[in-house]
Symmetry: C2
Subunit: 408 residues, 2 copies
């Protein structure tokens, strides 16, 4: 009996997880290590226990469920994603990848199929980074990109540290986070964009990530009074920041379809109804499939900002504090996923990941790859986030087929 995913069971598991931390508009709010995240973890753990998997947890709360192979000394074929969400989260981002992994193990269990290599299903802690920054914290610490001590000391806006939240939720495991000698890593995820739907693609093969460049900016104007200060005398930092926001947007529009540019964080001072603003902070990023184009976007942004500062006679400091990628996923794994999808008569397309994913942290540790399924309307980080039952099942089946090939 060939192991096959059960679309109804997989779909119901996704809905069951989504029912924890529901938002009024049909989405989920399960920020990392909150009671809601913890409840979802417990439900997931119960399902894994039903399959008699070997459970391990590390000190940053990452959960590993191992199914032994016939050759236990082989490196494991590992897969999974994350169960935490942003506050305005949908039901699929992250959850699909964990539930697809669970469905793979359930299908093997039902079929009585024992692989040669061991399998490991993973739920990474705090992928979203909404409560504790940075994002992808669990996989980051696992990969050694951040020390455990540094991560544990990070506090949320209420002052609660990761260490305290792990203790309170009972999610601090005994293992020291470190690479586990995996043979390879696979992650199934929703596209979070409109391309697959627009091109009638069933399975996206994620060959790598965009190149992203991140900027923190400070606009410094002059304090003055909104009443008597005539318009021509003002050095209004908020008005200058507004011009920057629109310049960023324009650069993004010009760089489509391969590029994006976003300004999504602002802090204004004194932010008072009676005072012309004199300090405004902005965060923005530019990203593109091609690194050279992202660099050109940065250059266009710097030109725009210099012109704004000169015309408005105020100071704009730019801190290009980080860049990211491009990461290239393992070509052999990408080929395998492509072949498995095509063998099922699914339409396939190579994709570039524009968002951060745990797989980005794992790629340096072992051969890694990602598979996308379509997002209806391209909507994500939003209660309206949706993929159909069929799309979900196709993604999980393609993953299962690839896992069987890899684990023997």
């Amino acid at each position: 009996m060939t192991p096959t995913v059960n679309p109804d069971r997989l779909w119901q598991s996704i809905l069951d997880i989504a029912a924890i931390g529901p938002t009024p508009d049909g989405g989920s709010n399960r920020m990392a290590l909150t009671p809601e995240d913890t409840a979802a973890r417990r439900l997931f753990q119960g399902w894994c226990d039903d399959l008699a998997l070997h459970r391990e947890q590390d000190a940053i709360g990452n959960m590993f469920f191992r199914r032994e192979g016939t050759v236990p000394t082989d490196g494991a074929v590992a897969f999974g994603s994350h169960l935490d969400t942003v506050p305005t989260g949908g039901r699929f981002d992250g959850i699909f990848g964990v539930m697809a992994g669970l469905e793979i193990l359930r299908a093997l269990h039902d079929a009585g199929h024992r692989t040669r290599a061991p399998l490991e299903l993973v739920n990474w802690t705090n992928e979203e980074g909404s409560r504790f920054r940075p994002a992808m914290m669990g996989s980051r610490v696992h990969a050694g990109d951040m020390t455990l001590e540094a991560a544990l000391a990070i506090a949320d806006d209420a002052g609660t540290t990761v260490a305290e939240a792990l203790q309170a939720s009972g999610q601090a495991g005994p293992l020291t986070p470190s690479p586990r000698g995996w043979a390879c890593w696979l992650e199934a995820h929703i596209e979070q964009g409109p391309v697959m739907e627009a091109t009638a693609t069933d399975i996206g093969i994620v060959t790598g990530t965009m190149h992203a460049r991140y900027f923190q900016m400070v606009v410094t104007g002059e304090p003055s009074h909104v009443g008597p200060t005539t318009m021509d005398r003002r050095r209004d930092s908020l008005a200058a920041a507004a011009e920057i926001v629109l310049a960023v947007e324009k650069i993004g529009l010009t760089a489509e379809p391969g590029g994006r540019a976003s300004a999504s964080w602002i802090e204004n001072y004194p932010n008072a109804r009676g005072n012309v603003s004199n300090i405004t902070r902005l965060h923005c990023d530019v990203r593109h499939d091609r690194a050279a184009d992202a660099i050109a976007m940065e250059s266009a942004l710097r030109d725009a900002i210099a012109a704004i500062a000169a015309r408005r006679l105020l100071r704009i400091d730019i801190d290009p504090y980080a860049t990211f990628g491009p990461i290239h996923f393992d070509a052999n794994l990408c080929n395998l996923l492509r072949r498995k999808a095509e063998a099922r008569q699914l339409t396939v397309r190579d994709m570039t990941a524009a968002a951060g994913h745990d797989s980005v942290l794992l790629a340096p540790l072992c051969p890694s790859a990602m598979l996308f399924i379509p997002s209806v309307g391209g909507i994500t980080h939003n209660p309206l986030e949706y993929s159909t039952k069929e799309q979900v099942a196709r993604g999980a089946q393609t993953m299962l087929d690839a896992v069987l090939d890899l684990a023997g």
Copy 2:
């Protein structure tokens, strides 16, 4: 001996007050009922006690220092301003009016001159509204525009109420705030704008206030992800708000010299580096010397906002929650101030107040007027706020001359 102000003494008093709550850049930070404000009040009170004035204080902390006249039953000629500042405050906004009033009483004391009518010098509580909103709280409660109970219950950002701050600072007096039967009210203030300096005017006669219209706006877009969401699919509330900020600014520039338009308060959600913003709140106001022109500015703003909402396919709610003015000050008092300034060979100009002042609350209670002195560079609510010793002395002397005329 004709009572005459002492420019050096007046100047030194202003500097002595400014030394309390100093900012590193030469300004003052004395928000209402803070330890700094309380220290300034104590210094001021000591100076008044040296003149053997009769001190009274009401339950909202307003301070009244009375100098009896020869006919104690006459209504008092009252004058003063406020000692509190914004966090980025200068040394003259408010302080000049209180110190000019003190100098008037000192000059009368030196000259041994007893007026017929009583005189009252006032320091109003929380004119700026930086710590506790609304602004002009003390004069507002005095005038019955807000109940004492409502004012006492207002909390600052740290959760401390006005009642608690009054208790902690020892500034809660026994009097019930209410009008005091004054014959008239006068306030000397800095212009806080560039017009007097630009026109070489010594004394501004404030004939009234602008008409101001206040708006709270909420832009509602769609949550999405800064990575995979292509630019054309976004409904970015922050980008829309940026367009509104610039539309407000343009309307203000078009309405010069009589008009101003300001957007100086913004709140963005989720204000996260990874999420396209979906809710952005803005506050703005338009104001003009002529009420009809302010209404036309509002109309232009509404047109601009409707166009932004339509083009970006998002919702913008506008709450026009308040209007203010125009207030017309007493024509006879304005004429008196004008004559007294001209008698001293000072250049005079009629002005419209663009900022809020305590006098606005007092105008309905008794004949009221204001006098302006120039602000160097038009700079205000800023440590660079400045008026020269001579400008300060001219303003105080004109006030003294008018008080002598009014009080006999």
